[in-house]
């Protein structure tokens, strides 16, 4: 049987209007096409060194390494594949932290209050193991203060972990400036680039990045695969493995590599690299239009995080006078989120918005609007209409009560 796809179709989500591209992205049909043969006739185990099936798969994996590396100015041999950005972040932070403490006695981790939960929890695990963990605050713009970074870094610092782009508020951290300071202090610099890779220009050398986490499904690639960039020279970064076994990925990450997923990540990286600039321009136009309408027609609405240092596909806005749950329940026909997807199943105030200084007690609804590759002008207009209309309806109901 065949699952070959009709090239006319796309994976564009139709209904409801999907504005949650920071939670996950639909897999690009071109990525699906690139993956398909690796399930079937080219299904070999890339670690089988004794026959053509294995060699074929191993070569495809190496091409995917090159594709991921090319997007960040790295080398293919510096890329290892994981099951996703969560694993990459766990491996980078716990792996590098433990390794450096063992080898050099460095036992301090610096990170930021608005990081993804998997970064904060990995740091907390190290804290329980006796590390000192510094969690830097963010300003009203969502950005970390560079003087505070410099002050926190010292000769005991094993690693500083700062995300490239925040998953909730879309702000872009000043990676180059942080990298410069980390390098001066001899701390390794890790960045969780799950939301930044393929969306903003990244260069591991210019930004002095030593470790970078990448996610497949945030860049129109498949779920279940991610990558970790690991600098091999100046400095030579080494991490303690979280999993042992067959010794794949140079012993750092055992387990059979899923060739179709890895190929999918490579294809997604290649497409993102080719289309990044043009796509960012297009999305910025749509996003600005969306914000312009919301600001003009919803009283008191404000944007969370920096207006300038922000990726093109994200808005996070707060609407005073409404409950978040109330707004989410009433919004029909638009898929948006009130926080990050991982935690959106469970209610609770966003740690990112709290770190921004939003008051927890105040009645206000905050929503994240994520735009992406398949978002159209028409969808933006319809979504604006719906949102404006829903807020108006809820507010008049509150006013009447």
């Amino acid at each position: 049987m065949s699952i070959r796809r009709d090239h006319e179709t796309t994976n564009r989500p139709a209904q409801p209007i999907y504005l949650d591209y920071q939670a996950t992205t639909p897999t690009d049909p071109r990525v699906v096409d690139a993956m398909t043969p690796w399930f079937f006739e080219r299904f070999g185990n890339p670690h089988s060194a004794e026959h053509k099936y294995g060699w074929d798969a191993a070569e495809a994996v190496d091409q995917a390494r090159d594709a991921v590396a090319a997007e960040i100015g790295g080398k293919g041999r510096d890329i290892l594949f994981t099951s996703g950005a969560t694993e990459s972040n766990n491996l980078a932070i716990k792996g590098a932290g433990r390794r450096r403490r063992e080898a050099e006695g460095r036992d301090k981790i610096v990170t930021v209050a608005s990081e993804h939960a998997c970064v904060l929890e990995s740091a907390a695990r190290l804290e329980r193991e006796g590390f000192e963990v510094v969690r830097l605050p963010i300003g009203r713009d969502g950005l970390v203060d560079l003087d505070a970074v410099e002050e926190a870094l010292d000769e005991r610092t094993a690693l500083i972990s700062v995300m490239a782009v925040n998953n909730e508020i879309g702000v872009i951290q000043p990676l180059g400036e942080i990298g410069k300071r980390a390098r001066a202090a001899g701390a390794w610099f890790h960045t969780d680039a799950a939301q930044g890779f393929g969306k903003i220009p990244l260069d591991v050398d210019e930004m002095a990045i030593d470790l970078m986490s990448v996610s497949g499904h945030k860049i129109y690639g498949p779920k279940g695969v991610g990558a970790l960039y690991m600098r091999r020279k100046k400095p030579k970064v080494q991490v303690e493995a979280l999993m042992d076994g067959g010794g794949q990925e140079k012993g750092v990450r055992s387990g059979t590599l899923p060739t179709p997923l890895v190929v999918g990540l490579g294809a997604a990286a290649r497409i993102a690299g080719r289309e990044r600039e043009r796509e960012a321009e297009r999305l910025k136009g749509l996003r600005d239009r969306l914000l312009e309408r919301l600001e003009a027609e919803i009283d008191g609405l404000f944007l969370n995080g920096s207006r300038e240092a922000r990726i093109a596909g994200n808005l996070n806005v707060t609407i005073p006078g409404l409950e978040g749950q109330e707004l989410m329940a009433a919004l029909d026909g638009i898929a948006v989120s009130s926080g990050s997807a991982c935690s959106s199943g469970a209610p609770g105030a966003s740690h990112v918005l709290q770190a921004l200084g939003l008051e927890a007690g105040k009645v206000a609804a905050s929503i994240r609007l994520g735009l992406g590759r398949f978002t159209t002008q028409e969808e933006v207009e319809t979504a604006s209409d719906r949102l404006i209309e829903t807020v108006g309806r809820l507010r008049s109901r509150r006013g009447a009560a």
Binding site: M1, I3, N11, P13, D20, A23, T24, T27, V32, M35, F39, F40, E41, F43, G44, N45, H47, S48, E50, H51, K52, Y53, G54, S83, G84, T86, E87, N89, N90, H116, A117, C118, V119, E121, S122, R125, S215, P222, K223, G224, V225, L242, M243, D244, G245, G246, G247, S254, G255, L257, P258, P260, L261, A335, A341, C342, S343, S344, G345, A346
Partner: protein, 369 residues
């Protein structure tokens, strides 16, 4: 030239059409299972239906199933995240089990590769405290089936816990009795014709467990990270197909394997087949032909269009001698001359014919050498 005959199913199996179709559907429908909107809810439904299918294959409750990136992760989670003071593993375990805890103790096997139960009993009686025993259901190199129910009786009597790596067992033998005997069970999707990049650890209710990957709260807070939904959907479809049809498939494959072994013995009566006198699953044959190094055999077969392996795929990049055959007491010259032939769901009669034709040439070469 036609595609090479693939007889390396224990390294990885081609994806079953049902599994690939399910993975493709999930790829196209998208959604993050943790999102509360309808795209997310659809993804959640796919995830939970796959969980039920995988659970059903092992006769387990769906809540027992924790999806992972594969059996290596599942093995590591079981051995490391279970905070046992002492870990006892069989000498023929996969590297994922052997390497997971540096302080593990090794329980020996007999010449057929079966766990030495008396030795295990002694080891269990000597040490006090909280012990985890890890024994694979089916060996990846020889296909030998371990006496899991007997192992479980000893483990239970000692108040210890049992982990079973069943990566090579799923779809090749009945899993429910294995799961009934175990506290933890590892599964791999791609070994049973599901997609690569996904596996599961089954955890018995009440058994201790410490998560390794943190942040996000997925999988009931036991494993963070957005779920590999297409992989999981494919895994579920493969599990469902096998739950219904594994007996017929295993019987068909076993008949092919038996014909293959009979043919091999006919062209080279001197061959030694590992674990031939022990219970084995029907798809695996580990064949030693003295006098011709395994790498040479594999290369010659490859030139003749037949893909087999000289050991497990993970270690096959580096040619080292098999720890499994050594543990069975095989001398180096015999262990170094063993190839692994493994069959599966898509293997056909003519694949066996082509293998046997190539093997006959190989046997003639060995005679000349």
């Amino acid at each position: 030239m036609s595609a090479p005959v693939y007889l390396d199913y224990n390294a990885t199996a081609p994806c079953r059409p049902c599994a690939a179709a399910a993975a493709a559907r999930a790829l196209e429908s998208g959604g993050n299972p943790s999102s509360v909107h309808s795209a997310g809810r659809g993804a959640r439904a796919t995830l939970e239906s796959a969980r039920r299918a995988v659970a059903a294959l092992a006769g387990a409750a769906p809540e027992a199933v924790l999806f992972t990136a594969g059996a290596t992760e599942a093995d590591n989670l079981a051995l490391r995240a279970v905070d046992a003071e002492r870990v006892l593993v069989s000498a023929v375990e996969h590297d994922a089990v052997l390497a997971a805890r540096a302080d593990r103790e090794i329980a020996p096997v007999d010449g057929q590769g079966r766990l030495d139960l008396a030795a295990l009993e002694r080891a269990l009686s000597s040490g006090a405290g909280d012990t985890l025993v890890s024994v694979m259901a089916v060996n990846n190199e020889t296909g030998v089936v371990q006496p899991i129910e007997d192992v479980a009786a000893l483990v239970r009597a000692a108040g210890a816990r049992l982990h079973v790596d069943a990566a090579q067992a799923a779809g090749r033998m009945e899993l429910a009795p294995v799961w009934s005997a175990a506290d933890y069970l590892s599964l791999s999707a791609h070994k049973m014709g599901g997609p690569p990049g996904v596996g599961a650890l089954l955890i018995r209710a009440g058994a201790p467990f410490q998560p390794e990957s943190l942040g996000g709260g997925q999988e009931r807070r036991r494993r963070a990270g957005t779920e590999n939904l297409p992989g999981i959907a494919g895994f579920g479809a493969a599990a469902q197909e096998l739950a219904e049809g594994w007996r017929a498939e295993a019987a068909r494959v076993e008949a092919l394997r038996d014909r293959l072994e009979a043919g091999v013995r006919a062209s080279a009566p001197q061959v030694v087949i590992a674990g031939a006198d022990a219970p084995r699953v029907g798809n695996t044959s580990c064949i030693a032909l003295r006098g011709l190094p395994a790498e040479k055999q594999v290369m010659a077969l490859d030139l003749d269009g037949v893909a087999v392996s000289a050991g497990s795929a993970c270690s096959s990049g580096k040619v080292t001698k098999s720890h499994v055959l050594s543990a069975m007491g095989w001398p180096d010259d015999l262990a170094g001359a063993a190839i692994r032939v493994s069959l599966g769901w898509a293997t056909r009669d003519d694949d066996v014919d082509r293998f046997l034709a190539a093997y006959e040439k190989l046997a003639a070469k060995a005679k000349a050498a």
